[in-house]
């Protein structure tokens, strides 16, 4: 691994620590909130929108690890959800949206809906195993429905902050063209 790549790894670590700092500041400024913006996941989704999947996965693992240790009930859940979110954001949605900035909120909305649902259902399954509680899908939906509006709203705000951090304050690397997507477009054009 050459020095430039090591530099990028440190930059990813810096992003995660900045997400953590943002989270702490928000908790200090608004101590009475029921739900806080999920800076760790939003960072993954925003980063994955603009950068290669390899780096996105690395960020997902580190960010997920921090999230698990700081907030998690079960170790590893955030890492897996982070990887899944990074994969969705980087591979599928990046191809669909073509890295156009106006679609970033749409991407955050979609990934928030999917990842939050998976997290709610996973945590309820964990509760079932750990505390011998009965698993009721109805309760999962109630919990999900109750939280999702404020979760998405707060994540939009976090997205703006993460976008500014990643692309303007500490830019990761020069944007590279998505060769795969371009080839596909060219092929479509030819047909």
């Amino acid at each position: 691994m050459n020095s430039s790549k090591i530099k990028l790894v440190f930059k990813i670590l810096l992003y995660v620590i900045l997400a953590f700092v943002c989270n702490q500041i928000v908790q200090q400024i608004f101590p009475g909130l029921d739900i806080y913006p999920d800076f760790f996941f939003v960072l993954i989704w925003t980063f994955s929108y603009f950068h290669k999947i390899e780096w996105s996965l690395l960020l997902a693992v580190i960010s997920g690890l921090f999230r698990d240790i700081l907030f998690g009930q079960v170790f590893g859940l955030s890492i897996i959800l982070g990887i899944l979110g990074a994969y969705l954001a980087s591979h599928l949605l990046q191809f669909v949206w073509q890295q156009r900035i106006r679609f970033l909120p749409v991407q955050v909305l979609l990934v928030s809906l999917i990842i939050k649902f998976l997290e709610t259902i996973s945590l309820n399954i964990v509760t079932m195993f750990k505390f011998s509680e009965t698993f009721l899908l109805n309760q999962v939906f109630i919990s999900y429905r109750y939280q999702i509006p404020s979760y998405i709203g707060l994540n939009f705000i976090a997205t703006v902050i993460c976008y500014i951090l990643i692309n303007h304050v500490f830019p990761f690397e020069k944007m590279e063209k998505d060769v795969y997507a371009e080839n596909m477009l060219n092929l479509n054009g030819e047909f």
Partner: protein
């Protein structure tokens, strides 16, 4: 980074397998996976402390300006009250010695035999209603070492139940709040002390910040507004800690029982500091060399207490001397006045 897609997928697969194995292990509260978060705690703790200190200092600065006068006045009053309370404490200590003697005679077991109250600050509040664990700034270093035999209740300054310790690492610990579906404790209702019930959190009710007591028989006397206390059964929570207040009583179900909804006494929005009750004088990690420093801390704390005692005694003497001076002055003025009166009379 990866030469081909196959390598990438292989790596993701390996990472996923490792994470799943760790996940299964982390379901056991005492497993090493839960304690393995210490390195990250070492990284994040200074940042948390810095941000908290800045926040607290700025809040204190602005509030101090406004409250300075008020505090000075209050301080004066409290110092006087403190003298009285110290005297009461001394009386109570004497009574406690008598009680201990009697207790030994009658072999009474005391649920309040907790030796340590560990004060802790909340570092992290939960991100949402699902991830509902609170992180506090005391961990294994303070003797919060979760094992199958030990549990650690967490309360606030007014002895309201906040939750219990979920897991801990070297520097921090996670607290499961009362509203969590994983929380349950034996309790009694203030108007119905003879019966013990199970107070627990609920997936649906936690969204509203409520808890429940199920299977309350129809003949039990329960009213809205009744207070719920820990019963001391189960061995983790001591007797008599306030859990909350009855806010709703459901109609009887087909089995002739009812469910009570309880609003926790703890205010999760404003709470900043909590106390962990530990019943181990010597923690499990005594072999750890850090424990020596713990004892040093204890001895320094004892010295501080002695200093405080001395200061209080000095203050008390000052107050008493001031009072006696005032009285003397009054007596002097009285005598002066009587002398004047006498002279006038003469």
């Amino acid at each position: 980074m990866f030469k081909n897609k196959r390598n990438r997928y292989l790596l993701i697969f390996i990472v996923a397998i490792i994470v799943i194995i760790l996940m299964i292990f982390s379901l056991i509260p005492t497993s090493i996976v839960n304690k393995g978060s210490s390195p990250i705690s070492f990284i994040v703790r200074p940042i948390e402390n810095l941000i908290n200190t800045i926040s607290v200092n700025s809040k204190n600065y602005f509030s101090a300006i406004e409250l300075n006068k008020q505090l000075t006045e209050e301080n004066k009053n409290l110092t006087e009250q403190n003298v009285d309370l110290r005297l009461q404490v001394k009386e109570n200590e004497a009574a406690a010695i008598e009680y201990e003697k009697l207790k030994n005679v009658y072999n009474i077991s005391n649920k309040y035999d907790y030796l340590n109250f560990i004060g802790a600050r909340i570092l992290q509040k939960p991100l949402g209603k699902d991830l509902n664990l609170y992180r506090i700034d005391r961990g294994l270093d303070a003797g919060i070492n979760l094992s199958e035999k030990s549990g650690f209740p967490v309360i606030d300054a007014d002895a309201n139940v906040f939750g219990r310790i979920y897991n801990s690492d070297a520097l921090t610990a996670k607290v499961l709040p009362v509203t969590s579906e994983g929380f349950s404790v034996s309790c009694f209702i203030s108007e119905n002390r003879g019966q013990a019930f199970i107070f627990k959190g609920d997936v649906e009710l936690k969204q509203q910040g409520l808890c429940k007591i199920e299977d309350v028989p129809a003949e039990s006397i329960v009213n809205i507004g009744d207070e719920i206390y820990t019963s001391g059964l189960g061995g983790v929570f001591p007797y008599g800690l306030l859990l909350g207040e009855v806010v709703e009583i459901s109609p009887l179900n087909s089995q002739g029982t009812q469910t009570i909804l309880v609003e926790p006494a703890i205010d999760f929005k404003t709470i900043e500091n909590v106390f962990v009750l530990t019943n181990d004088l010597l923690p499990d990690n005594l072999e750890d060399p850090d424990d020596e420093s713990r004892f040093r801390e204890d001895s320094s704390a004892a010295n501080e207490n002695e200093k405080i005692d001395e200061t209080v005694q000095e203050t008390a003497t000052e107050i008493l001397s001031e009072e006696s001076e005032e009285k003397e002055q009054d007596v002097d003025t009285d005598t002066d006045a009587s002398e004047v009166n006498e002279s006038y009379g003469n």
